[in-house]
Amino acid sequence: MEARFTELLTPFLKYLGDQELTEDSDLRRLGLDSMQSIELLFAIEDTFGISLPDEDLNDATFATAGTLWKSITAAAGAQGLADAA
């Protein structure tokens, strides 16, 4: 996972504390609720200049840092913005 992704994600996780953010980090458990998911989505789309496909906007995508990052890199690749990934 890229540093700019983990930096973007960290403020949304109010229960992260001193834990290291890894691909397995459970986002809901760390405090991401549905309202924040939307703000996070907007932040991702602005930062990476991508649009996550509708079929990725489900609980599975927002489950862990790793699943979300995977969706971002897939969208970046598909949208010809490989430099973002």
Binding site: R28, R29, G31, I38, D54, L57, N58, D59, A60
Partner: protein, 400 residues
């Protein structure tokens, strides 16, 4: 009470515990109807209807056949909730919520717990209540402030719940608690506890406007249960909430509400068509016909949305997609508003004597009071907030 009094007029003298599902449902509905006015007056639990649900196997409606249940589908559940709702909305909601608990056990519990509970539910021994409310968080499902303790001997529970439907009569409880050693309130576990494993203190009185027979009391539950009585993974209640509790609650509640409004319209039409009704009402009145039409139209709209949502849920693997969540919420909001509005139309249509008096034969007064709770049962305001956010997530507006 003598044995003959427990049987409603015109019903079989013995509870049908084999034969078609709807025959059993109609028997339970008849028992519920016979006692509905008394339980509404006294705001106590419909014990005769619960006994009939145990006897007919209806408590095991959605328990899979290989565990001795009736193996009912989602369609069966909704059909039964509509049928019971025609007689008594509290009874329909009680069964709907019980079946929602059963679905959590069937779909999410590990084999050991499933094998312990499902056969007991199937034979009518185990009526399950849901304990998800907590003081201070309202109906918010996905957090818990009450912590469970965990040691080598099992899970300790000390939980106050301000509203537990049927809590005083339940044989077992599915309880949300903060997972042992949780790092945040969003790590919620669902724990099964048998009545015999708990010390139960009931507090406060139940004296609501409607839904009086749901007997939704405040309970403090304390006890200690074996570790295997967690349903699903510790901390993973959000999965059960999203895949089971939310969808089934909205579908079964909407069916119960539709049943209540349907029963009300049916009684009004029978009253109007009776010789006495035809003497008192002008059935050619454009005003009366218009109002009957408006009520019927609302019911057909809710029914169409209910059946469409049912089909969409059956056909969709991932219910967390925005368009599915939006559809389920739209069903709940629409049913809760339109069923109440339909009964309100009927009160206007037939007037004070037949529509508004507490002892009017049409029973519209009770139906209207009961349905008034529907928009508050998981508040429509809260659902609209969620829907607004979900709408933002779906810029293409793909309809389910």
């Amino acid at each position: 009470m003598s044995a003959t009094q427990a049987v409603a007029p015109g019903t079989a003298s013995r509870a049908p515990n084999d034969g078609p599902l709807m025959e059993r449902a109609r028997y339970v509905a008849a028992v519920a109807a016979e006692h509905a006015r008394r339980h509404d007056r006294d705001a106590d639990f419909p014990v005769e209807a619960l006994a009939a649900m145990r006897e007919t196997g209806l408590l095991g409606l959605t328990v899979p056949g290989d565990h001795g249940g009736l193996g009912g589908t989602l369609t069966d559940l909704l059909d039964v909730c509509i049928e019971l709702g025609r007689a008594d909305m509290s009874v329909a909601m009680i069964l709907g919520m019980h079946c929602q608990q059963v679905a959590a056990v069937t779909g999410q519990a590990a084999p050991r717990l499933r094998d312990e509970l499902l056969p007991r539910i199937a034979v009518g021994e185990l009526y399950l209540a849901s304990v998800t409310t907590e003081a201070g968080k309202g109906g918010h499902l996905l957090t818990a402030t009450s912590a469970a303790s965990s040691d080598h001997s099992g899970i300790g529970i000390d939980r106050f719940a301000p509203i537990v439907t049927g809590g005083a009569h339940a044989d077992g409880f599915l309880i949300t608690v903060q997972a042992p050693n949780a790092a945040s309130p969003s790590e919620v576990s669902l724990i099964y506890a048998d009545r015999g494993q708990l010390t139960i203190e009931e507090s406060g009185a139940w004296n609501p406007m409607g839904m009086r027979a749901s007997h939704s009391v405040a309970l403090r539950l304390t006890g200690h249960v074996p570790a295997h009585q967690v349903v699903g993974e510790h901390g993973a209640f959000s999965v059960i909430a999203g895949e089971v509790f939310g969808p089934l609650a909205h579908l079964a509640w909407s069916a119960a509400w539709l049943g209540t409004a349907t029963g009300a319209l049916s009684r009004v039409v029978r009253m109007l068509r009776s010789p006495a009704g035809r003497r008192r009402f002008d059935l050619g009145s454009e005003l009366l016909l218009g109002r009957l039409s408006a009520a019927r139209q609302k019911l057909d709209n809710v029914h169409a949305l209910l059946r469409h949502t049912e089909q969409a849920v059956r056909a969709t693997a991932d219910l967390s997609q925005p368009r599915m969540q939006l559809l389920l919420n739209a069903l709940k909001i629409t049913a809760s508003e339109q069923c109440h509005a339909a009964v309100d139309d009927l009160v206007t249509a037939v007037g004070l004597r037949d529509g508004y008096l507490k002892d009017s034969e049409t029973g519209l007064e009770a139906a209207l009071r009961d349905l008034r709770s529907a928009p508050m049962n998981y508040s429509n305001d809260r659902l609209h907030q969620a829907d607004g956010r979900l709408t933002l997530l779906d810029p293409e507006v793909r309809l389910a």
